[in-house]
């Protein structure tokens, strides 16, 4: 730092010299220098040397509230803007454990608490959500929060079972690899409260928990889950080489306070 003969520190010019590498603009102020660098102007030496770039926002903890069969509230917060303006914040929400595969919901506001009402959900279904906030330095995401909706009440199950469910198609060929198969809800099922969804062609999943035999008309029991389609486990469709194995849903039953439907299927070979 150069000092004049009178002892005056040529601060403005020297700072400019250090930054711009020239000595021609001797009357450049700290404000002008910092503004030219795209920063918020510091108005004093301490501010100038203490200046740091913004960092990504900090997020608070996640929680859920008022959990119902078809809804719950996601609550989170942006605890710090990181020194930069929050340009976007919100939630990722869906049924995938991969954040980017879910829908992003951008909500208003900057720092502080934020919440979202997740509605139109399926009962007894696992959902995943993340909160996030973005500033000029980047985006910060919370860790994944797992939340299940309440299972349907027994009364709801039975009321929806006034008309026994039917499948369309009610029978079909077994998949050759025994890995997966799908059915499409019949119209009578889409009208049911619990099984009502936004789609008229919702596929359902079933999971054979206690398959003990593969002979024709041997009932087995499985549990109904949500809206995804899979048959799990190493389970074969009938005797080897018999061919023509298939499935047929015979009837439905609801367990009292169970979290899922129980059904009976018959395997015919």
């Amino acid at each position: 730092m150069a000092v004049t003969g009178s002892g005056e520190i040529k601060l403005i010019g020297d700072v400019n010299n250090e930054i711009n590498g020239n000595t021609t603009d001797t009357n450049v102020s700290l404000t002008t220098l910092s503004t030219g660098a795209g920063k918020d102007a510091p108005h004093g030496l301490t501010e100038f040397y203490g200046y740091v770039d913004a960092v990504a926002p900090s997020m608070g903890s996640n929680s859920t509230h008022t959990i119902g069969e078809t809804y719950f509230y996601s609550v989170s917060s942006v605890s710090s803007d990181g020194g930069g303006t929050i340009t976007e914040r919100g939630f990722y929400f869906g049924t995938s454990t991969n954040r980017a595969s879910n829908t992003k919901y951008t909500v208003s506001g900057t720092t502080g608490s934020m919440s979202r009402a997740n509605t139109g959900l399926s009962a007894g279904t696992t959902y995943y959500w993340w909160a996030y906030a973005t500033n000029s330095a980047g985006t910060t995401y919370t860790s994944m929060y797992t939340q299940a909706t309440n299972s349907p009440s027994a009364s709801g199950l039975f009321s929806n079972m006034s008309t026994w469910g039917s499948w369309s198609p009610a029978s079909g060929s077994a998949p050759s690899n025994c890995a997966s198969a799908s059915l499409t809800w019949g119209a009578s099922m889409t009208a049911g409260g619990y099984w009502k969804t936004n789609s008229t062609t919702v596929t359902a999943s079933w999971w054979l928990t206690s398959q003990t035999g593969n002979t024709c008309n041997t009932p087995s029991y499985g549990a109904m889950y949500g809206t995804t389609v899979s048959i799990y486990g190493n389970w074969t469709w009938g005797p080897s080489g018999s061919g023509g194995c298939g499935y047929r849903i015979e009837s439905w039953a609801a367990s009292g306070y169970a979290t899922y439907h129980i059904y009976r299927s018959t395997i015919c070979c």
């Binding site: 929680s63 859920t64 509230h65 008022t66 959990i67 509230y73 609550v75 919100g90 049924t95 454990t97 980017a100 595969s101 879910n102 829908t103 992003k104 919901y105 951008t106 909500v107 208003s108 608490s113 919440s115 979202r116 009402a117 007894g124 279904t125 696992t126 929060y145 797992t146 939340q147 299940a148 309440n150 299972s151 999943s205 999971w207 889950y225 949500g226 995804t228 389609v229 899979s230 799990y232 979290t259 899922y260």
Partner: protein, 129 residues
Amino acid sequence: MALIGNCSNTKYTQSETETTTETITQPDGSSEEVEVPVIVATKTDYTDVYLTVKQVEIMHSIDASGTKRVHILYHIAAYTNAATRDADQEDFLFWENGQLPTYDHSKNLYEQLYDYVKTKEGYTNLING
């Protein structure tokens, strides 16, 4: 078993009069703006409550990838005192439900629930009663 002391409870509801704009962006990048009700958080303080785990549900689920999960869904309710609860478990000051984020099979479920409730916002001043 119960928790006692001072606490606060926050209820979340959707405003019937105010709306805000929410941008919905799908994984494929398409987006739309929708008007949604403003969420209203109402915090209420309570003094010398008797808070218990009123209901517990253990739910098993399985997702599309075949991953099986255990969900511990609970209801808590706060009463003016134990006698009030004993007389009528529905005569509560407020109730709230939630989900136990982690579950240890080797530990007592109720203890895990009470310990978790004490970590939640609004309930950190409660002690075992």
